[in-house]
């Protein structure tokens, strides 16, 4: 580990030197790097799909949709919009400050650290990288050790496509993370769990480093069957896609559990079963369309959640597990005990609890009683319920009548609140996430008002008061001696 410390310090020195040289600030450099990312993904499509299959059993279509394609789109957006993003924003100043000018410049933070996650090891690494590069920073990426093939691929491939004096990759687990966190960074971007999020934030405090934490949480899905009964087929498809179709539920914006009225629970479950079968066939283990559980540890965690007697008794579909193949069957639970572990920690796997309520309006209270999730999904056409969800609950985002696609909408900020995280990114927000908004004001030396300076007297006080109120007419009267100092 001494060696690692040396490597980290050496990398950091090099990145700081590169940043100080000013190279990474130029829009040209940023664009070259963004183009190189697109090229890298396009050149290595098969290789990337391979490593994602090795690490997670991800089908190539899923891999393209959630990772490769996503990264290409994100980099293309940045490339197309960068010229617009970097333009300083003019600020209107009050007349009082005439002839001064104001503007806001987005400047790079410097050398930043990105720590990514194993569930979308390509996109959760490259997407923040795109933001960091767009902002003009030098950046070190620590990929997750739990997706070793993807991590090794990134460590090997990134240096051959990108400026390796400015963009570096370090592989490793918690011990490497610890070494990295001891260093001073100008920004830390972390994707992962709230537990590690707390450690990162505390470590960042040491150097007053701003942090973006992309965490998760239990994302609830409200099904208001009264108003969407006609579209129930789509509803069920979308929920199933959101639960099992994206890394087997191992996604921070996965559907965690469903809230539905008692009377509709059985029909919903029947439809879910049919959909699961149509997606993954009679033998989902062999379908090739379901990702596996990332590691033994996570498999065992899910097994423990499921083996709680109260939870086990609530299984209405699936439940089979194969530790050798790290496979957990799509599983549906009906009303597991609310105090069970599975209802109090992020599931992050292919298990879907259905929680029944007497009235769907109760879902508001249910969600409010829990930590703020990264996303809330609600299938409803009831405007009143929509308004209640928006104004009474809090979450990173709210999506009506679909799941997970808010992630694909780069005009929307993506990020959590409370337990689900701090900060946001995607599209322009990624650029902002890695930029300091520097206020610039320029005064003129030509015009100067005596009233600004001591020694103070009542005239100056009166003058400044009026100026602050922007009472320009009175100001003129005062200067002409037409109103008394104490009048205004």
């Amino acid at each position: 580990m001494e060696d690692m410390k040396e490597t980290v310090e050496q990398s950091l020195r090099e990145m700081r030197e590169t940043f100080a040289s000013g190279r990474t600030r130029s829009v040209k450099w940023r664009k070259t790097q963004l183009r190189a990312i697109i090229e890298m993904v396009k050149d290595n499509e098969d290789k990337m799909c391979d490593v994602l299959f090795q690490d997670l059993g991800k089908h190539s279509t899923e891999a393209f949709r959630d990772e490769l394609g996503f990264v290409i789109r994100s980099a293309t957006t940045a490339l197309d919009c960068l010229d617009k993003w970097v333009v300083p924003r003019k600020s209107n100043l009050p007349l009082l400050f005439y002839p001064a000018k104001g503007k806001v410049i987005s400047e790079p933070y410097g050398t930043v650290l990105v720590m990514s996650s194993w569930n979308f090891p390509i996109s959760l690494s490259l997407d923040p990288l795109i933001g960091a590069i767009s902002g003009g920073n030098t950046v070190l990426l620590k990929s997750s050790e739990l997706s070793p093939n993807a991590s090794a691929f990134l460590a090997k491939t990134i240096p051959s496509y990108l400026d390796n004096k400015a963009i570096k990759v370090i592989e490793g687990g918690p011990d490497v993370a610890t070494i990295l966190l001891q260093q001073q960074w100008d920004k830390i971007f972390f994707t992962g769990s709230p537990k590690i999020g707390r450690i990162i934030l505390a470590a960042a405090a040491e150097h007053l480093t701003p942090v973006t934490l992309e965490l998760g949480g239990k994302c609830p899905t409200i099904v208001d069957h009264h108003s969407v009964s006609k579209d129930m087929k789509s509803v069920v498809k979308r929920i199933s896609g959101g639960k099992w179709g994206s890394c087997s539920g191992q996604a921070c914006i996965s559907v965690d559990y469903v809230l539905v009225e008692q009377s509709f629970a059985s029909p919903l479950i029947e439809m879910l079963k049919t959909t699961v079968k149509s997606f993954f066939g009679d033998n989902p283990k062999e379908s090739g369309c379901l990702s596996k559980i990332v590691s033994k540890k996570h498999f065992q965690r899910l097994a423990r959640l499921l083996n709680d007697p109260g939870v086990k008794a609530s299984i209405v579909y699936g439940g089979s597990m194969d530790e050798d193949k790290l496979f957990v069957e799509p599983t549906i639970l009906l009303d597991p005990p609310l105090d069970s572990e599975i209802m109090n920690e992020e599931i992050f796997g292919p298990i879907l609890p259905i929680i029944t309520l007497r009235d769907i309006q109760e879902s508001i209270g249910f969600i409010k009683s829990k930590p703020k999730p990264l996303a809330i999904y609600a299938f409803t056409k009831d405007e009143n319920l929509k308004t209640r969800i928006l104004s009474e609950t809090s979450s990173g985002s709210v999506t009506f009548n679909d799941v997970m696609i808010q992630y694909m909408c780069d005009a929307l900020p993506f990020g959590g609140v409370g337990e689900s995280g701090i900060g946001r990114y995607h599209g322009k927000y990624s650029f902002e996430c890695f930029s300091h908004e520097k206020a610039i004001m320029e005064g003129s030396l030509a015009m100067d008002l005596e009233a600004r300076y001591p020694p103070w007297n009542s005239f100056k006080l009166a003058f400044i008061r009026l100026a602050f109120r922007e009472a320009y007419f009175k100001l003129v009267l005062l200067m002409l001696g037409l109103i008394k100092v104490r009048d205004q």
Partner: protein, 482 residues
């Protein structure tokens, strides 16, 4: 004497405020406007008391209190009242082909129960200004004013108790013990103004609850003076920004001057001359200068000044009176770079001038140090202005003036690196206390099978075409041409 503030009081306070917040009372536009109007009444009806409290705590001249605290606040409140409807309105967001058909918006929602910890140097401005942001955004808020400005602290408690909704806006007075108890609670945001040392403690405490923080700190804000300037105006503005703003006890105060060896004598002459014009021959008697806040800070400044190779560099001023907590405006020339005064934020009436062979070196001096809250440049040289603005990293940059940027509501005010994180003022205050919630409205129409398993080559090809926004390709695949 008031009862001691205990752990149970802190947790009860937060519980109570959380109940109010959960009831939704603070979310309504009416409530926010109402509370803001109350703050305005405080400014309008209690200015004499505020001026008196500031005089007690800091010997602050009336004009300074009236302008930099009360008038700035009044402007800030009026702006919030005028623009709150706009600020609260959701922002429409464009959606793309990938999520078609849909519409999207971004809603500003209050974070919940927030804590504002303010500072002693501008005890009213730095307390109420963040509270304006917190209230505008619809939060319940606890304010902890600084114990080092006790008269202001107790006046804030009195006025806020008297005017604002006690179920959602509260003041807790106290020092380290009380602050520690408050920091043990779970807040939805902490807004802190003060030193980078305490900021680290705040952020570490916040980490336990994953609480986002805004840290408004300070740092050594440099002033670069080019010879191509209007020297008289330059020096007046520096004096006003340094001694005329709480006698250097301000986070945006000019900390040291950088100029060329050649130009320095002119700068020094003008400084000496204007200082006399501003504060008279005996500045220790001037009513236009605040005093040092307390003996601790007085001793801290004395220590800086008495360092061996520093004391001999005093070229103007240097008089001190511990009894009256007064230090005369003091100028030092070329103190050692490794001295205390060149490595700690001065936060007082001492102004070192550091001379360079050429102005170019100023970039290196600034870059070699922690990022300051503000960087100032006086010049008429357009190229130099641009380079300074682009390459010097600081919270904010002001060319040809001092500190005026903080009075401009359209500019974000806040630091970077050692000078802090997050920003506020105007709409930025509202944003600092809001969560930007992304909302996507989707319809059921147009549910493409490509989204779902079982996956196939055709789906993959279509996805690729979609990602590249290649419509022709999309149609080809859909029509089965590929």
């Amino acid at each position: 004497m008031a009862r001691v503030f205990e752990a149970a009081d802190a947790s009860n306070l937060v519980t109570e405020l959380r109940r109010s917040f959960d009831s939704g009372v603070t979310r309504g536009y009416e409530w926010r406007v109402n509370q803001l109007k109350k703050l305005l009444i405080i400014c309008d009806n209690h200015e004499p008391e505020i001026v008196a409290a500031l005089h007690d705590d800091l010997g602050k001249p009336e004009l300074e209190s009236s302008v930099y605290e009360v008038a700035l606040l009044r402007n800030s409140i009026k702006l919030a009242l005028k623009q709150l409807k706009d600020w609260m309105a959701p922002d429409k967001a464009k959606t793309s082909l990938t999520t078609f058909p849909s519409s999207a918006e971004i809603i500003s929602e209050p974070l919940g129960v927030v804590l504002v910890i303010s500072a002693w140097n501008y005890p009213f401005l730095l307390s109420i200004d963040p509270v304006i942001g917190a209230i505008s955004a619809g939060n319940a808020v606890v304010l902890k004013p600084s114990e080092l400005s006790p008269a202001s602290s107790s006046l804030l408690l009195k006025l806020i108790e008297q005017y604002l909704d006690p179920s959602a806006v509260r003041v807790v007075e106290g020092s380290v013990a009380e602050t520690t108890l408050l920091l043990d609670q779970k807040w939805d945001k902490i807004f802190y103004t003060g030193s980078s040392k305490i900021a680290r403690i705040i952020m570490t405490a916040a980490a336990k609850h994953l609480t986002p923080v805004v840290l408004e700190l300070g740092g050594k804000s440099p002033v670069v003076i080019d010879s191509d300037t209007n020297l008289k105006v330059t020096i007046k503005r520096i004096i006003q920004g340094k001694w005329g703003c709480n006698n250097g006890q301000a986070c945006v105060s000019p900390d040291y001057i950088l100029t060329t060896k050649e130009f320095a004598p002119k700068v020094i002459d003008e400084l000496k001359q204007e200082l006399v014009a501003f504060y008279g021959k005996n500045p220790m008697e001037s009513k236009d200068l605040s005093h040092i806040v307390n003996t601790n800070h007085f001793d801290r400044l004395s220590k800086m000044l008495e360092e061996k190779e520093v004391s001999e560099k005093i070229i103007h001023g240097g008089e001190k009176d511990r009894e009256k907590l007064k230090i005369a405006p003091t100028i030092l020339l070329d103190v050692p770079l490794d001295s205390l005064i060149m490595n700690e934020e001065i936060f007082g009436p001492l102004l070192p001038i550091f001379t360079l062979n050429n102005l170019e070196e100023s970039f290196d001096v600034i870059r070699s140090r922690p990022k300051p809250l503000a960087a100032y440049l006086f010049t008429q040289n357009q190229k130099l202005k641009e380079r300074f603005a682009m390459t010097v990293s600081a919270g904010g940059i002001v060319v040809n003036d001092i500190a005026v940027h903080l009075a401009v509501h359209s500019l974000p005010f806040g630091g970077v690196g050692e000078s802090g994180m997050g920003s506020y003022h105007g709409k930025f205050s509202f944003d600092a206390f809001s969560h930007k919630k992304a909302v996507l409205y989707k319809s059921f129409f147009g549910d493409s099978a490509i989204r779902y398993a079982p996956y196939s080559r055709g789906k993959l090809r279509l996805l690729k075409a979609l990602v590249n926004s290649n419509l022709v390709e999309v149609f080809k695949v859909l029509l089965g041409f590929k």
